[in-house]
């Protein structure tokens, strides 16, 4: 017994250097860190924390599988513990990173022509950024729900006609209103695969809307942030 048996399955953690920080809004930034030997599948997340503490939080990987670095898109949460301290870190500093994990990934058995609808709220757009940049999905529409158009976080990465910015607090997006309102008015069909990512309330409402539109739960995949 025991041939080829892994000795232990402890979670691996390591310190990774911060290579760059891009501030996209007052509260949201992209942290680019060393990749080291971390391999991941687009859609997975890593737990990241400041180097001197014991706390980490989950962050979806924002960069592409083939990139030589790892990026995460972080929104500073007011009175939060980890996100404000990540915001204070500087280029050349370090973060603690646990190995990537998660099942919010694209099913490899689906054809290249598979139709996808990606629905995000806020920084929930992060795994979709990774899907698109990793070449995981070509036939997609990305519905991005934010309050203000300034939260469109590097949307130039997506084809213009595939990205729908839904702004709920101002009339500057593709659509003025919530993603859920957009989805109610625009059906994408029961054969599409729907990926939902972000806050729980949005995901809950989208499930209901899709059910009414006759979409099977087998075609709905969700990643809840909070």
């Amino acid at each position: 017994m025991g041939k080829g048996v892994p000795a232990a399955n402890k979670i691996k953690t390591d310190l990774h250097e911060i290579l760059d920080i891009r501030h996209l809004t007052d509260s949201t930034f992209v942290l680019r860190i060393e990749k080291k030997d971390l391999e991941f599948e687009a859609g997975q997340h890593v737990c990241v924390g400041p180097p001197n503490g014991i706390h980490t939080r989950e962050y979806s990987i924002y960069s592409a599988e083939q990139d030589e670095y790892i990026e995460i898109l972080v929104k500073e949460v007011e009175n939060g513990l980890v996100s404000p301290s990540l915001k204070k870190l500087q280029k050349g500093g370090y973060v603690v990173v646990e190995e990537p994990v998660g099942y919010f990934t694209i099913n490899k058995d689906l054809p290249q022509t598979q139709k996808y609808v990606f629905i995000a709220s806020g920084t929930g757009v992060s795994p979709f950024h990774s899907f698109v940049l990793s070449g995981k999905a070509e036939n997609y529409t990305l519905l991005h729900g934010v309050k203000y158009a300034s939260e469109a976080y590097e949307s130039e990465a997506y084809d213009k006609d595939k990205y729908v910015l839904c702004t709920s607090q101002e009339d500057k997006g593709t659509f003025n209103g919530r993603v859920t309102d957009y989805l109610k008015a625009n059906h994408f069909g029961a054969d599409a695969h729907y990926y939902l990512c972000g806050n729980c309330n949005m995901i809950h409402d989208v499930y209901d809307i899709l059910e009414e539109q006759g979409v099977s739960t087998d075609n709905i995949h969700a990643e809840v942030y909070f």
């Binding site: 017994m1 000795a7 232990a8 399955n9 994990v101 998660g102 099942y103």
Partner: protein, 428 residues
């Protein structure tokens, strides 16, 4: 004189499996193995940490042994040992605190202790699957560990932190383990792990593994223990029709409220869960579905709770394990704000327990007048007890042979405290 070694196991099937495997190893080494600390040279507590109550229970067992004069070697292992190693070492300076990764090396540790070459436990090389198959010890069913760890990250659960990342055991090891235990005379194997539906070894998933298990040309039955309802495929439903596979699943629900399930980051919806149950009952209308339900999760409203209560009736569970939500530090749920007051949790849990009890009795009553194949595991005071294929306890007022399968006609149901045993008479 033979050294006496006592075990106490708390928590999940996986812990039971690991205790059984350790106990067999000790039997092989010439120890006498018992299930308590009384008059033992070594007492091993295999702890659990899934809820605060399990932490308390685990501590109680250790304290109780010490208060009752246990002066021999004390080993604390299991998930609490992973989670609170330093605290435990401080509080019990004479105990060996052995984490899950090192658990399989406890026999070496004990031997080393008696050879006066005490090794610090963290220097032993072990491995999460490094157990010999469990031979005749406490159970008539043999637990087969196929997987360890979990990557689901449910917001209430500390297990990924203490059991670590999901890792699957090689297919050939599992098949070999089953051949061995069936060779020892076991009639039933129980497939265990932390999250077995995510089994994946070199591309072989859970259903493919199960197919290879039932194809073993030996006579035994297979019980699939606790499973998450998040990755069932068609092949799995087909396999459940196989005569070797018993019609019982412990299918963790946790809540029937869609919004609570999302807050828990469970990977399924209640609608999907219900569809799975319907499919299982299409395979066999009496398919036994047992479950875990958490009450009082942060943000659970009366309406959310009512949904869980309704589900108990709607899905005719054979058994429900009700947990009052307890906060585990370092989990996402611990940072959630809408905490349900303790007295509401208690009321909800009482109400759910009552509904679950009614459901259990209803479920069991349908077997009256039917025949079950009972594997006898207890024989004492002129009666025998065991479990039928649906995993319902059956009592027979006759001394039978342990570890033998009997065809039993069910004649009634008998309440014994919270438990409701079926009563039957042997047909063969």
């Amino acid at each position: 004189m033979k050294k006496r070694i006592g075990f106490k196991t708390l928590g999940c099937r996986l812990n039971q499996f690991e205790t059984d495997a350790l106990a067999s190893k000790f039997v092989g080494l010439g120890y006498e193995v018992v299930e308590n600390s009384k008059d033992t040279d070594v007492f091993i507590v295999n702890t659990c940490t899934v809820t605060n109550q399990s932490d308390q229970k685990s501590r109680y067992v250790v304290n109780n042994a010490l208060n009752h004069g246990h002066t021999g070697m004390l080993v604390i292992t299991g998930c609490m040992a992973n989670n609170h190693k330093e605290q435990l070492e401080k509080r019990y300076p004479n105990a060996y605190v052995v984490d899950n990764q090192q658990k399989s090396t406890i026999p070496q540790l004990v031997e080393a202790h008696y050879n006066k070459e005490i090794l610090p436990s963290n220097q032993n090389v072990g491995g999460v699957f490094d157990y010999a198959p469990a031979a005749e010890t406490f159970h008539t069913r043999s637990m087969i560990k196929i997987q360890d760890g979990c990557d689901n990250y449910c917001t209430f659960c500390i297990i990924p932190k203490v059991r670590g990342r999901a890792v699957s055991r090689p297919v050939e090891d599992i098949l070999e383990n089953i051949r061995q235990v069936v060779g020892f005379g076991y009639k039933e194997v129980v497939i265990t792990g932390v999250n077995i539906s995510r089994y994946n070894y070199n591309g072989i998933g859970f259903s493919a593994l199960l197919k290879q298990i039932v194809d073993i040309k030996l006579d035994f039955r297979v019980r699939i223990s606790s499973i998450e309802p998040d990755s069932f495929d068609e092949e799995f439903f087909e396999l459940l029709k196989h005569p070797k596979i018993t019609p019982h699943l412990h299918l963790c629900l946790q809540s029937a409220s869609e919004s609570v399930l999302l807050q828990m980051r469970r990977m399924y919806t209640y609608k999907l869960y219900k569809r799975i149950v319907e499919r299982l009952r299409e395979i066999d209308p009496r398919f036994n579905i047992t479950t875990d339900i958490i009450v009082g999760f942060p943000g659970e409203t009366e309406a959310d709770f009512q949904k869980s209560l309704d589900a108990v009736e709607e899905l005719s569970f054979g058994h429900v394990h009700t947990f009052k939500y307890s906060k585990r530090e370092d989990t996402r749920a611990a940072r959630m704000s809408n905490v349900v007051p303790e007295q509401d949790k208690t009321l909800r849990s009482e109400e759910l327990r009552q509904a679950a009890n009614d459901s259990k009795i209803n479920y069991r009553q349908q077997f009256i007048g039917e025949q079950l194949h009972v594997l006898v595991d207890t024989v004492k005071d002129g009666y025998s007890k065991g479990y039928g294929e649906y995993y319902v306890p059956v009592k027979i007022n006759q001394s039978l042979e342990r570890n033998r399968l009997y065809t039993v006609k069910i004649t009634g149901i008998e309440a014994q405290g919270e438990e409701h045993n079926l009563i039957g008479v042997v047909q063969n």
